[in-house]
């Protein structure tokens, strides 16, 4: 069943929407959740929460790309779960990625939770991604959105792991410079 038809099922409040979503995107959502949560039970729960959330969002929402829409919900739910449960539930992979992220954040800035700043951060990330060469951008998004391992990225991109690591290191440094230049406070 194509995505438009699945979305129509949601809009028609037809419960087949959930089974069709699971059939087509269950594995995809599970993988995203599992990378963050590293627990079969938690990932399955997160996947189910994704379906409930999709059911509650459509209507009124009509996503342009169902896969990305579901992926975003899953990722958000999983991250919120590890935030709620604290460090004990984090996977080693998430810890590693969080450490990498910490390198990027400018040291001298004060912590701000101000909404404008958060808007600016999101805007900055998208502008930063837009100016990256496509290969670098894919590697960056695979690492920090899909939370893929270096090995997985290397295999996907037909590159050596050291090459992937080098590209990520350089991109993180560029990103740090970019945020500093933009005066973004985290």
């Amino acid at each position: 069943m194509n995505d438009d038809m699945i979305v129509e099922l949601y809009w028609a409040r037809n419960e087949d929407a959930i089974s069709e979503t699971h059939k087509k995107y269950g594995k995809y959502c599970y993988q995203i959740a599992h990378k963050i949560l590293n627990s079969n039970a938690d990932s399955e729960e997160c996947m189910n929460d994704t379906y409930v959330s999709a059911w509650q969002s459509m209507p009124p929402h009509r996503p342009e790309r169902l896969s990305t829409f579901l992926g975003k919900i899953t990722r958000n739910l999983a991250i919120n779960r590890i935030r709620r449960d604290g460090a004990k539930k984090r996977t080693a992979r998430v810890d590693m990625i969080l450490d990498e992220m910490a390198e990027v954040i400018p040291d001298s800035k004060t912590i701000s939770s101000d909404l404008d700043n958060e808007l600016a951060l999101k805007d900055a990330i998208n502008r930063f991604l837009a100016q990256l060469p496509i290969q670098t951008r894919i590697i960056f998004v695979r690492r920090y959105w899909y939370l893929s391992t270096i090995k997985e990225i290397a295999s996907l991109m037909h590159m050596s792991q050291s090459n992937v690591k080098m590209i990520l290191l350089r991109t993180r440094n560029k990103f740090k410079e970019f945020l500093e230049k933009e005066g973004i406070e985290i």
Binding site: S53, E64, S67, G71, N76, I79, L119, L121, V141, L156
Partner: protein, 613 residues
């Protein structure tokens, strides 16, 4: 927690980057990399052959020797017109033409053989009864007639009735539901055309969400309706028109984001005339610089006589509706322009209007423009004296995704920036520039409910819930557009109709569940309500379900109350609306149709047929 926040912020990156990095997409990108070197070598050889065979013969005049001439621009322009292009595009074209001396285009000239009904059996005269938006541009409907028969389709069957007053009877039936359609088709969207010689009916049947069936029937002998041929088009049926022997059909073809590009069926619009799928050639697909949706709007131009496809045209854009003049097809696509911020999104409704010429049997893109606001339907557009007039609902809002109890919701943020109103734009169709506009003329928070144009006038009904004004615009001087309105009155019109003699008919709601039919006219300083008819009943908002007889000032429609269906006929007489008849007529009012012929009203619905004097 800074780094966690950073990780969370990554969730807000543009969807295009997420899709781009989707594993399947990357695999496709790298597919065949192993063979790159081999391919490169082959490519070099092919390039050399191509250069010899396919290097185009010069098609543009060489005017460089006049470069220093002060009339160089004029010379260039003249030479473009005067220059005779070479007969053959390149060496390959030359060789092939010489070898075969025959140039057949399989896609653009499929012939189905004789497709017309037998004209010796039926010598009826066609009578136009559809209230078409543009004179001469016929719209499909559930009812058509000749001087002998009335043809009615209830979504599931096509029926033919004689016109014999009280003795009228059904003389022919064709079951659509028994046809080849296996499961889902949308009977509420079925419509048909009757040919000028009244021997052929062309049914347009939206099937599933992905295909449109065109079935041609020989109705020359009503007792033996015969299927002549079937054409299947990819895409959801949008609309169609019949003008000057050309049947224009528009579909929307949606492409999956994970389409397999080795399979043309998955990403190229097609037509199936019974001899397999034929895909639109690349030169018939227009790809704009920026593509916002992976959907095609596909326009087909059939010769109505033999259903041969004269031309087709696809462009990567989505159209919800079309407006067609005698020469031009306007497609409309309303959507929100999203300005995505970290935790909220600012949405501004905009409409992209594209114009495609279909004169001379071939399609040509004339231009396109984006105006602010969303378009309600085809009646919101009108072309008059080279000016396209458009009425939109302007809408700015803000939404944000919120997490509550672990679930993500999209919520509209209500603040001072979240407002709607209505605007009118006048666009020069030669330059594609807005030459006049009236911004936000409706009270704040109102939306456009119905629009009608009549030459130099525009009528607009806007409303917030159940309170509306009706506006009369005078567009005779685009430098000085003036308008009057009714002021706030209860209810709103879902259809506005020019009833002639300066009268405007509004069909809509007085309050929830209460039908209101109202006649307006213009006074010196405002628009006034002349009379209205109200009844606690539900009704169809499909304009074509109404009978509008301007000559007799008749207004007819199906209604439902007390769990029963009725047909009512009103007449505007001097200064009042009078109910002439109300008869039970079983079946959904959306499918109800009626026609008034020589003192008799012929009424049709899904399960009923009645004639009343």
């Amino acid at each position: 927690m800074k780094n966690e926040k950073m990780l969370l912020a990554m969730n807000e990156i543009d969807e295009k980057y997420i899709t781009e990095a989707y594993a399947d997409n990357i695999r496709k990108r790298f597919k065949g990399r192993t063979f790159a070197y081999v391919a490169a070598s082959i490519l070099v050889i092919i390039t050399i052959i191509n250069l010899v065979l396919f290097l185009p013969f010069p098609t543009k005049p060489n005017t460089s020797e006049y470069k220093d001439n002060k009339y160089y621009n004029v010379i260039q322009k003249l030479e473009t017109v005067n220059h005779i292009a070479p007969k053959h595009k390149n060496m390959f074209d030359f060789i092939v033409t010489k070898l075969f001396e025959k140039d057949e285009d399989l896609f653009y000239g499929p012939s189905f053989g004789p497709i017309r009904g037998d004209s010796t059996l039926n010598s009826s005269q066609y009578v136009e009864i559809t209230d078409n938006q543009v004179a001469g541009v016929i719209e499909g409907d559930l009812i058509k007639r000749s001087d002998k028969y009335i043809y009615y389709c209830n979504g599931r069957q096509l029926k033919i009735f004689t016109i014999e007053e009280e003795d009228s009877k059904e003389v022919g039936t064709f079951n659509i539901a028994d046809f080849k359609l296996l499961w889902t088709y949308y009977e509420e969207k079925v419509e048909f055309y009757l040919s000028q010689d009244c021997n052929t009916i062309t049914l347009l049947i939206p099937y599933k969400t992905a295909e449109t069936y065109i079935i041609t029937l020989d109705v020359s002998n009503p007792a033996e309706i015969r299927e002549i041929n079937t054409i299947i088009l990819s895409g959801t049926y949008v609309s169609s028109r019949l003008t000057d022997g050309k049947l224009i059909v528009v579909t929307n073809v949606a492409i999956n984001s994970n389409a397999d590009y080795s399979n043309e069926k998955e990403f190229i619009p097609y037509i199936n005339t019974g001899s397999g799928l034929q895909f639109l050639p690349p030169e018939k697909i227009f790809v704009p610089e920026s593509v916002s949706e992976t959907r095609y709007t596909v326009i087909y131009n059939f010769n109505e006589t033999d259903m041969v496809l004269d031309d087709s045209y696809a462009f990567l854009s989505f159209s919800q509706n079309i407006y067609v003049t005698e020469e031009t097809i306007y497609t409309m696509h309303s959507f929100y322009d999203e300005n995505v911020k970290m935790f909220s999104t600012e949405n501004t409704a905009i409409t992209e209007i594209s114009a495609i010429s279909y004169k001379n049997d071939k399609f040509e893109l004339l231009g396109s423009i984006i105006v602010e606001g969303s378009v309600k339907d085809k009646y919101s557009l009108d072309e008059y004296k080279d000016v396209l007039r458009v009425v939109t609902t302007t809408d700015k809002n803000k939404s944000k995704d919120i997490l509550r109890d672990g679930n993500l919701y999209t919520q509209i943020v209500l603040d001072d920036t979240t407002r709607t109103s209505a605007s009118l734009y006048c666009i020069d169709v030669n330059t594609w520039k807005i030459i006049a506009q009236v911004n936000n003329f409706a009270p704040l928070d109102e939306t456009v409910k119905s629009v009608r144009f009549d030459k130099e006038y525009a009528y607009v009904c806007t409303a917030k819930q159940l309170i509306d004004p009706v506006f009369f615009f005078d567009l005779s001087d685009l430098n000085n557009i003036t308008y009057k309105d009714t002021g706030t009155i209860s209810g709103f019109s879902t259809s506005l109709v020019n009833l002639g003699d300066g009268l405007l008919l509004g069909i809509g709601l007085e309050s929830f569940g209460r039908l209101k039919i109202e006649i307006y006219k213009e006074s010196e300083d405002r628009v006034i309500s002349v009379d209205s008819f109200e009844k606690t009943a539900s009704y169809s908002s499909f304009y074509k379900s109404y009978l509008i007889d301007r000559e007799n000032k008749f207004i007819g429609m199906g209604i439902r109350y007390n769990q029963a269906d009725y047909y009512i006929l009103l007449q505007f007489n001097s200064n009042e609306l009078v109910k002439l008849i109300e008869v039970p007529l079983k079946g959904s009012y959306d499918f109800t149709r009626a026609v008034y012929i020589d003192g008799y009203l012929y009424m049709f619905s899904v399960d009923d047929f009645k004639v009343v004097k």
